[in-house]
């Protein structure tokens, strides 16, 4: 990750990569090198605020998703309580149903909570599948070039330029041909989103690979005689995926919106298979006009918040990984001086002796501590 930073910052801030080294020399735990943690450390001010807000939101929804069975008082398709008493329909929020019930008698709170789980699973399915396929295709296409590349690019561009929701709808109809059980429903939605995102990963990875293919370290691997397979797996794969976290978060939020859109248009997951916010919103449209606000507001706000959270994280990561978009604290205590970044090898123990035929050359150069030479120039 820090390599990514060094590469990024080199053209804009002079000497920044040397600073990177400096930072490395002050030992840090493995933990702080993890993408998000690292960014969290460098963020300041509003930027930090936005990142933290995003992380809190994401974490919150993740926890809700994981502990849904504990948090939700009822099941997502439960319409009778333990005594066999049917829930009231469209009941206003009350002690039993803190966020009220829907037209079908579902508990809004429970469905909203279970919905988080569906959303998270859908994201994971969609993003994992599309990353896997997209990265693979991008790698192959970018490295080999040729007509396979050209064809893939045209296809990817065609698919990419096609409104994603439409494609997702088509895929949803096609995939949901089979029966839609719990997982089948989630998977079919997830997969229909996948199709939309493969081209995005493909494009990103391919661009990165094409750029890197010409770079010195890939060329040096070629000079060495490394096989194509080795170059792709050892050298290209890891290095080309550094931009993924950002796209990943941004795509996750789009995945949620697509899932909700599918649900809203009635191509999504069945209510008895899982709770899905878009579907709930669809069902609550007529409630809203009848003054029954609680069935729409909660799932709606849940969508907004989870997308907000993910997008905040994604955008912050994006800004923080681009030095031009990153702010730093504006003043503070000086922790190091320029000495630490000197590239003059004379102070380094391993320095080799230099001997020129030039008789003037001062052969010994191991002294010259900088500190006591300050202001020397003033006399002139």
């Amino acid at each position: 990750m820090s390599a990514a930073n060094a590469a990024n910052s080199a053209p804009t801030v002079p000497g920044d990569d040397r600073l990177e080294e400096l930072r490395q020399s002050t030992k840090q735990g493995f933990f702080s090198k993890l993408p998000v943690i690292k960014q969290l450390r460098i963020a300041v001010g509003w930027q930090k605020g936005m990142l933290v807000t995003g992380l809190i939101l994401c974490g919150f929804f993740l926890l809700v998703a994981i502990f849904a069975p504990l948090i939700a008082p009822y099941g997502y398709s439960q319409i009778k309580d333990a005594n066999g008493q049917s829930f009231p329909t469209q009941a206003a929020p009350s002690a039993e149903h803190i966020w009220g019930t829907t037209v079908g008698g579902f508990d809004v709170f429970s469905r909203t909570v279970w919905g988080a789980r569906t959303a998270v699973i859908a994201i994971v399915v969609a993003v994992l599948c599309s990353i896997f396929i997209g990265v693979l295709l991008g790698l192959v296409s970018g490295y080999f070039g040729g007509w396979v590349d050209r064809v893939l690019v045209v296809i990817a561009d065609a698919v990419y330029s096609f409104p994603s929701l439409l494609l997702a709808i088509l895929m949803a109809i096609m995939i949901s041909h089979g029966q839609s059980g719990l997982w089948a429903g989630i998977f079919s939605s997830g997969l229909s989103i996948t199709v939309v995102y493969i081209p995005q990963y493909f494009r990103t990875i391919r661009a990165e690979v094409v750029r890197m293919k010409e770079s010195a370290f890939i060329e040096s691997a070629r000079v060495i005689g490394a096989s194509t397979w080795r170059i792709m797996t050892k050298h290209l794969l890891k290095n080309s995926t550094r931009t993924l976290p950002v796209i990943l978060t941004l795509n996750s939020s789009e995945a949620i919106l697509t899932l909700a859109g599918l649900g809203f248009l009635g191509f999504g997951i069945e209510p008895t298979a899982a709770a899905e916010w878009g579907y709930d919103l669809n069902r609550s449209v007529s409630d809203v006009t009848a003054g029954i606000w609680w069935t729409a507001i909660f799932p709606g706000v849940a969508i907004v918040l989870i997308v907000l959270g993910i997008t905040l994280v994604g955008e912050s990561l994006n800004d923080l990984s681009d030095p031009r978009l990153r702010t730093r604290k504006s003043a503070g205590e000086v922790i190091g001086s320029i000495e630490d970044t000197s590239v003059d090898p004379s102070t380094q123990k391993d320095a080799a002796e230099v001997v020129f035929t030039d008789p003037n050359a001062g052969a010994d150069a191991s002294e010259a501590p900088a500190a006591n030479t300050v202001n020397k120039g003033e006399e002139s």
């Binding site: 065609a158 096609f162 919106l257």
Partner: protein, 368 residues
């Protein structure tokens, strides 16, 4: 153009120094036209691929006869009708046939309501176009305005507020936003109509037009009735706002990032070192170079806008292509869906093409 350029050179042989390799001043050279033509031809494979994908996917989604009469006729009768319509022939034959028709410019007639697809496209295309245009205006005003403010006040409170607003625009599904807007403006305040493109009365008025354009604003002007125009505008506000804000969210971000990155570039710093004021740096020196990536992404955004239009149009019953598309999809009317998809593909490709040409024109570095 080439001929003209040489003629110019001949006419002014003032300093005909043959010394250096002199770059042509006139950038619109034959090379540029070659670029335009090649770029234009690239549209064809894109459309071909989309048509192919949609054709096969649509066939895998079922047939319109079952969709319409499945719960009504006996399976034998259904099968007979499917056979009569030829939907049970090998797919590849149907595909070849469809492509053949397509090459003759024949998009076919819809299966579910027997209308020529071209009619559907012109009639509903106008509606979508109107909505997209209005939304684009909203998006551009909000997006560029706020985006530039955010870039200038970067990392201060206004920036954070604008960015959060942008994300919220983007994070709120258009149908939820639509619901809220309807709730507020048509139910509580009762200011604006909740759906449709015009009231029934205006609709009837449009019937009087000899040559309706399908753009209701233009049609209302044609009619010359202020009441109709007002009615049409009132209907357009909410959908345009919903779709426009959705897009504006993306635009804000786009403008902000790109302006910041040009604003911190070498040439802006150099201009600053020559005493150019900050205001001018932002409005000229940083803005125009930022425009190139902005325009490129905005082109892409138009595709997303069409996708957004499906949801917006359904939410507000704006009877445009997106609305019809979801209707025809439900009816498994593959001819209609394919027709609309082709049109969308063409629009998207053409927009991207135009965007490429425009950015080639703006960006003097791109030489052909």
């Amino acid at each position: 153009m080439e001929a003209k350029a040489t003629a110019e050179a001949d006419a002014s042989p003032i300093k005909a120094k043959p010394s250096e390799t002199k770059p042509k001043k006139n950038r619109i050279s034959s090379g540029f036209f070659k670029f335009v033509v090649v770029r234009f031809l690239l549209i064809i494979p894109t459309i071909f691929i989309l048509v192919t994908i949609v054709f096969f996917v649509m066939r895998a989604t079922g047939d319109p006869i079952t969709a319409a009469l499945g719960g009504r006729l006996t399976p034998e009768e259904l099968q007979a009708r499917i056979h009569q319509a030829g939907y049970d022939r090998p797919l590849i034959v149907q595909y070849a046939e469809y492509l053949g028709d397509l090459l003759h410019g024949d998009l076919g007639t819809t299966l579910t309501d027997n209308q020529p697809v071209t009619t559907i496209l012109t009639r509903y295309g106008a509606a979508t176009f109107e909505l997209a245009l209005l939304a684009l205006i909203v998006a551009l005003i909000v997006g560029i305005g706020l985006g530039r403010i955010a870039a200038r006040r970067r990392d201060h409170a206004p920036d954070a507020a604008i960015r959060t607003f942008a994300i919220l625009c983007y994070a709120t599904p258009v149908f939820f936003l639509g619901l809220l807007l309807k709730l507020i403006f048509s139910i509580w305040l009762d200011w604006l109509p909740s759906s449709g493109r015009s009231s029934l009365a205006s609709e009837m008025q449009f019937g009087r037009l000899v040559s309706p354009t399908g753009f209701y604003i233009i049609d209302a002007l044609q009619l010359g009735e202020p009441a109709v125009l007002l009615d049409v505008l009132q209907h357009a506000i909410l959908p345009a706002l919903a779709l426009g804000l959705l897009t504006a969210g993306v635009f804000i971000r786009l403008v902000r990032t790109n302006v910041i990155s040009t604003y911190t570039s070498g040439y802006v710093e150099a201009a600053r070192s020559r005493g150019v004021s900050e205001k001018r740096l932002l409005s000229k020196h940083a803005w125009k170079p930022a425009l190139i990536p902005i325009i490129t992404v905005m082109g892409m955004q138009i595709a997303l806008m069409l996708a957004g239009a499906v949801l917006t149009e359904t939410t507000f019953e704006w009877k445009g292509l997106g609305f019809m598309l979801s209707t025809y999809l439900k009816a498994r009317d593959f001819v209609a869906v394919q027709g609309i998809v082709i049109l969308i593909a063409i629009i998207v490709s053409v927009v991207n093409f135009i965007v490429d040409v425009i950015s080639a024109l703006i960006d003097p570095r791109v030489r052909y």
